[in-house]
Symmetry: none
Subunit: 305 residues, 2 copies
DNA sequence: TTTTCATTTTGTCCTGGACAAAATTTGTAC
DNA sequence: GTACAAATTTTGTCCAGGACAAAATGAAAA
């Protein structure tokens, strides 16, 4: 029954876990292996992390998400880390989307209303599918980059995600038609909690006249199977973010393919599976949003009403 | 680098922690002291919890929340636990919400469209706030119960959550007014990924004329602080599901309270904090949706424009 | 070039011990 | 008996240091 919070000057290990997202076990093993962090100890021998070390841990976490390895960065000095951060923001800063500066400013100042208005405006001007392909896809990319570079806080990124949700849900609802075929079940595997890809897929399929049923994120495999066979589903569509381990994706998809009746198609989209088509026989890997439309056309050609 | 999730028959310790809100350390020490839970072991000696034990842990968790002590209940048989639960004041599960049978059928057969139509209809008939208090609250409860009893699959529950999201987001959007004051920032702590409570709170506050900014789930503490001070926020509102460890909630809230300027109010709602007001000085614990309205009124009384 | 195989890295789990905070019981004075 | 202080038990979280599978990397073969 510790109170890890308000050490006179520093944070307990539980508080650091909450703040940085790095599990306690990881914090301890890093200390053992790399010599950082090196928390003080209180009277009872428990770790007390000074604020400066917590800040550095947060920086390390950003670099980790950029693809750097712990052995290279955990032991490095704060100056080296800052240099690394400058160095390789994905080499080529890919042509900021139109109006990027304005949008970034909205996110930085936490102005959700303005952000939503701007998105809504693009949607009306372009139509749903072009909005998805030409605006949302590069924009989401740019937001991720901005976070990696430290130009945007986690809060700013969350705000963006939230507003995209609002706009897309509204668009899907207004397209209304709980129409025809195929009947598509959309979801993600457990541990994949990125819902944006899912929603974008739904927004792509729904106006094409498919009957979309989304289960949100994190449906256990057995339940996907159950829902698909129960609900008269034609296609099960899974979404994978870049952060999902590709091997787990392949393994899970193969298992699911084996358990689903052959009459139900299985589609997989997202960064983690983009290059894996050859390892996934019987599964349609969807490379991007347009390819999704193609997959839909294929299905319809193969299943004349 | 374990994959705790998809054990062919059972859950890894990390999955159980997520599902029950009981920390790993606690699960292990209970096993040592009380002989329960008693998970199987996989080839590598790691704990694999059968579904039945996870269910029992969930039951124990509920009794704990009611103030019973671990030594009385952790070692008890499932029958004893069921009796204790009957006897408890909170019992009163009955009174199935109006139209429950129909709605349950929709969920069981994965008919999202019908479910959404039914919810939408209730919303129109009752108005948003009564819909929240009189329909959605008991309904969400009933869905959870049905899942516990095995009458509803995970997929069915996900379908329900998804449709409620659709309906509420639509309702909030149509209420439009990104109006006045206070300016409320809504989110959850890391590891709390239940978004329904958050959305219900937003749906409660928005039509009352508050300016709501939701960051979705899982915002690190430091980023909540950043967003609140950056964005001209008057109130930070956190939501906690029943599965969130109460101690962590209390500790996190205390830390956040200390870090936020005194001028920014901190509100906390949800099962995990319902009984914790006395441990949370300087924080307004919100008992239910109506109490949220009350908190809003209090704030306005204290801050005349 | 791609594919396969061996090696290193890395995160999460394990055991069993410890101890402070909280809860409960016991003791004492009014 | 009731109120309050002190002693005791209960309980959750932390610690150390070891282990190992999955992932990432690098080398070799096709």
């Amino acid at each position: 029954m510790r109170n890890t919070t308000n050490q006179p000057d520093g944070f307990g290990i539980a508080a650091v876990e909450r703040d940085t997202g790095l599990p306690k076990d990881t914090l301890r093993v890093w200390e053992r292996r790399y010599g950082f962090p090196q928390p003080l100890r209180d009277a009872n021998g428990e770790r007390v992390y000074p604020a400066a070390q917590v800040d550095k841990l947060r920086l390390i976490r950003r670099l980790l998400d950029q693809g750097l390895r712990p052995s290279r960065i955990v032991a490095a000095s704060t100056e080296e880390l800052a240099q690394l951060l400058e160095a390789s923001p994905e080499a080529a800063p890919p042509a900021a989307p139109a109006g990027w500066d304005t949008l970034l400013a909205f996110m930085q100042r936490q102005d959700g209303a303005a952000l939503q208005r701007a998105l809504q405006q693009s949607l009306l001007k372009q139509g749903l599918q072009r909005f998805l392909a030409d605006t949302l896809t590069p924009l989401t990319d740019a937001v991720g980059q901005a976070w990696l570079r430290g130009e945007l806080s986690v809060a700013g990124e969350h705000l963006y995600t939230e507003q995209v949700h609002n706009v897309l849900r509204g668009a899907i609802a207004s397209h209304g038609g709980h129409g025809g075929s195929p009947s598509i079940l959309l979801t993600t595997f457990p541990n994949e909690l990125h819902s944006l890809g899912l929603l974008m897929a739904e927004a792509m399929f729904a106006p094409e006249g498919a009957r979309c049923t989304s289960l949100g994120t994190q449906t256990p495999l057995a339940d996907i199977e159950h829902a698909a066979t129960q609900g008269g589903i034609d296609v099960v569509a899974l979404s994978f973010s870049a952060a999902y381990p590709p091997r787990q994706a392949v393994e899970g998809l193969s298992t699911l393919r084996a358990r689903l009746p052959a009459g139900i198609a299985l589609w997989a989209g997202g960064q983690a599976v983009r290059e894996q088509q050859r390892k996934l026989p019987g599964i349609r890997v969807i490379a991007d949003l347009n390819d999704g439309i193609a997959a839909l056309a294929e299905w319809r050609a193969a299943h004349p009403a």
